[in-house]
Amino acid sequence: METFVQILVSGLTLGAMYAASTIGLSLVWGAMGVLNMAHGALLTIGGYASYSAVIHLGLPWYLGLPAAIIVSFIVGLLIYHIIFRFMYRHPAFETNVIIATVGLAIFLEQVTLLIYGAYPFLQPFSIEEGFFVSGVFIRFQNVVILVLAVVTMLLVAALLSRTRMGRAIRATALNREAAQLMGVNVGRVFAQVMGIAGVVAAISGVMLSSITTLAPTMGYDPMLKAFIICVIAGLGNVPGALIAAFVLGLFESVVQFAVGVRFGFPALLLLVIIALIWRPYGVFGRRQVRRV
């Protein structure tokens, strides 16, 4: 029973964080056809922004998250305005942008390293207290993470389905040219998408660093897992990505308990490779789920 509760808690926490990391990635792919290799760097920036707001600016700990959201939002917009804006009309955009964002990822990682060094700081946006369930200590932080992830997802879903901006994002994803003919300024939609991706990345960056530590490379690993989740769900498929995130989070924590921590990721990857040989377009993916 104790083991079960432990696995469940850690699996749900992992799943929530993966889900939050995945939404941004999936959204950016779906709307723009950009495989954003710098998504992990956005997570990292969010995590450190929260740290700086509390430690350097002296804000109360709970303002760390809003500060992170603002900073990552701005960085997301900047990425569009400095890089993507000049690229998206080029026919080889989908290839070139992968390379450009790999470069950007390293650049941002190095900037973080230069500013903060490699010392593993603790995330101040964190609650140490907790409670017991069947003899297992559960930090409030895990609950916060789960709630935050679910709320974020619901908000993004509502934004996409209910608002004028969300409709334009979906329309652009489905048919860029037709969206333009409705008067949509595709460049502005791309900027909005990068902004949203920044906000969501900040939330997952703060959550992630609150149960591990801050490090300039901390975004890389969750980004790879978010990639894997996208691959399973079919890129651009947000609801599928959420289901996959929780399933894989639970699967990983089972493997970690049963076989050993270091085999969590390899087992995930193996599962994904098998799944892909079975369904080359993703488990829930339809053929047209790409940038149509």
Partner: protein, 356 residues
């Protein structure tokens, strides 16, 4: 846009001159450091030339290049260490092993659409990295020290080298590695030119520019991609083995992201899919690297910024830029000759429009 048939004389002449210069360099009494850096240049240029085939020509968004390189290096080292066989023999076996390794990756990835391939291959490399650096189990004992199967965080060592030390002596042995890696680069480059200029190269361009056309002509993209992926893995694996033998150590750091970026920047600077791109790109980036040696902290930052700048400002790469300058220069010269000049100018103009 691509150099084709008639340029092969130019390429061959250029290649022969380049090889002659490279063969001559060790006789001019350069420093050991210079020889070492050139050796490394040959190795990286080999890797990039093969990656360029996969990524730039065959259109496979593979980021597994360093995983294959690492496979070749570790396979060579492990066979040397655990089986006690000659590193030469181990190298050839590792090259063949790399083909098999890449076929497994290829079967899992190549039916997927482009970006999925990038995701999955990057994940494969990262899993290899994690498995190596978290390897703490004792595989054998060396006195009282515990040694891991993969070498763990310390890297795999003590598997020997290619025997140039005994053959050429302590002072000259580097030249053995130098010529070995030069030989490898020449082989790999000839192979990549052969692919780029062959009907297969044209077929890939046709597939990339117009997938429907390829399908209608009955071109089996998957089969050809797997073929190129496996063949290029052979040279990449060999490069990994030569790297391991040259440094007498191989570790998980060859799978690190900054190194991957370093090599991508070579490919991008050179120009994706261009025959001379890898050599030009590797040379330029390594020169830039020399220049940035005193600024270690901002070096990787520099690469990051460089890549972004090149992709945004010069999507054709340096080789593409040179090609344009070359065409422009030829047009200017031909224009002086009147009638033929107009024809050439029109051809050039048509070329420019296609680039858009």
């Amino acid at each position: 846009m691509f150099e084709t048939g008639p340029n092969w004389r130019r390429d061959a002449a250029f290649g022969v001159v380049l090889i002659a210069v490279m063969i001559a360099i060790p006789f001019l009494g350069p420093s050991r450091y210079f020889i070492g850096q050139l050796t490394l240049f040959f190795i990286w240029a080999t890797v990039v030339s093969q990656w360029n085939l996969v990524f730039g020509v065959a259109g496979i968004f593979s980021l597994a290049q360093m995983a294959i390189f690492a496979f070749g290096g570790f396979a060579t080292g492990m066979m040397g260490l655990y089986l006690g066989i000659s590193l030469w023999f181990a190298l050839v076996l590792a090259g063949v092993g790399s083909i098999l390794f890449s076929i497994i990756i290829g079967l899992a990835c190549l039916r997927l659409r482009g970006p999925y391939v990038a995701l999955l291959t990057l994940a494969i490399a990262q899993v290899m990295y994690l498995l190596i650096i978290t390897d703490t189990a004792c595989f054998y004992m060396e006195g009282v020290t515990c040694r891991n199967f993969t070498g763990g965080t310390r890297g795999l060592a003590k598997f020997g080298d290619f025997g140039f030390r005994e053959m050429l002596g302590r002072r000259e042995y580097l030249k053995g590695d130098y010529y070995l890696s030069l030989f490898l680069l020449v082989l790999a480059t000839v192979f990549s030119f052969a692919i780029i200029r062959s009907p297969l190269g044209f077929a890939f361009r046709a597939l990339r520019d117009n997938p429907e056309y390829g399908v209608s002509r009955g071109l089996n993209r998957f089969k050809y991609q797997l073929l190129v992926f496996a063949m290029s893995a052979f040279f990449t694996g060999l490069a990994g083995g030569v790297f391991a033998g040259h440094f007498r150590v191989i570790g998980a750091n060859v799978l690190s992201l900054p190194l991957l970026l370093f090599l991508i920047s070579m490919m991008v600077v050179g120009g994706l899919g261009r025959a001379w791109g890898p050599i030009l790109g590797a040379a330029l980036v390594m020169l830039a690297d020399e220049g940035m040696k005193d600024f270690v902290e901002i070096r990787n930052m520099g690469y990051g910024a460089l890549i972004v700048a090149i992709v945004v400002l010069l999507p054709q790469g340096a080789a593409g830029g040179l090609e344009q300058v070359w065409e422009w220069g030829r047009r200017q010269v031909l224009a002086l000759w009147g009638g033929t000049g107009r024809l050439a100018a029109r051809r050039g103009a048509a070329g420019e429009e296609r680039r858009e």
